[in-house]
């Protein structure tokens, strides 16, 4: 039995076992499917999720897809379609995004929220409106003009002329 502390040095052993199991599944695929998976995984390494657990779940799902398709006799082209990039982009959406990308998207949303605050002049009304939106703050920022907080919206809209 390996002592628990060793995982601090090596990373989780469960993850390692899971990864090795996944590698074995890929190695057992017919050659063309293996080539395709390796291509997909390479692209995902650069653009895929930042979280290790999500990454492993993604690999397992990918292995499921290619194993099942190989068993059903679905050719590689029919799995990934005419545009492999479009397929992988749809696929990877299920597993969160790269840490840096999520951070930059939050930054962008914040910057626009700040800009809208500046546009509202006094800023007190717009700021108050956003805060009063409560819970789903992110959504409120994105769906400005969706008409959640009535009074303030129309005032701000008339003044700025940016949103239309």
């Amino acid at each position: 039995m390996t002592p628990k502390w060793i995982e601090l040095v090596t990373g989780s052993l469960d993850d390692k076992k899971r990864y090795r199991r996944y590698k074995a599944r890929i190695a057992a695929l017919p050659e063309s499917y293996r080539t395709a998976v390796e291509g997909v995984v390479r692209y995902l390494m650069y653009t895929g999720p930042g979280d290790g657990d999500q990454l492993m779940t993604m690999f397992d799902d990918l292995a499921d897809l290619f194993e099942q398709s190989a068993a059903d006799g679905v050719p590689v082209h029919a799995i990934v379609g005419d545009d492999p990039v479009a397929f992988v982009d749809t696929f990877k959406q299920n597993y969160g995004q790269g840490g840096w990308l999520g951070k930059e998207q939050r930054r962008l949303t914040d910057a626009i929220a700040r800009a809208e605050g500046q546009d509202a002049g006094g800023g007190a009304a717009a700021g108050g409106g956003a805060a009063a939106g409560g819970g789903a703050a992110d959504d409120d920022v994105r769906r400005r003009g969706g008409g959640a907080d009535t009074g303030n919206e129309t005032d701000a809209g008339d003044g700025s002329g940016v949103s239309r």
């Binding site: 499921d64 897809l65 099942q68 398709s69 059903d72 799995i79 005419d82 545009d83 749809t90 959406q93």
Partner: protein, 111 residues
């Protein structure tokens, strides 16, 4: 299938998958085959699979693993109550879009 068709389908494919599952429970390959029969010949198997994972994560379908003679166990997806509500919303949005676009189509660009 042209580029335009592919782009337009992107927004509605999840609804199409839910609609397919409202007929009866199915696994990924069956759904793709059904879509091919409907004339959507170029939809990638993997894209349908990705959408099935998405609707599973969002709790719109129930999943049962069924052993298969060849390959790993298949996941059979069935639409649950939440999925039905979601599908109703999808058709509502769809009707709205069709109605507005039809107005635009018939009225041309006049205002």
């Amino acid at each position: 299938m042209g580029k335009q068709m592919t782009e337009m389908l992107k927004g509605v494919l999840e609804g199409i998958v839910l609609a397919a599952l409202s007929r009866r429970p199915a696994y990924g390959y069956e759904i793709t085959a059904w879509l091919r029969d409907l004339g959507f010949t170029d939809i990638a198997e993997g894209t349908i699979y990705a959408l099935l994972i998405r609707v599973e994560q969002r709790g719109l379908v129930d999943v049962q693993k069924v052993a298969s003679e060849k390959g790993p166990p298949r996941k059979v997806y069935s639409l649950n109550a939440l999925g039905r509500t979601n599908l109703d919303e999808f058709w509502g949005t769809w009707s709205f879009l069709v109605e507005r676009l039809e107005q635009l189509h018939e009225g041309g660009m006049e205002r």
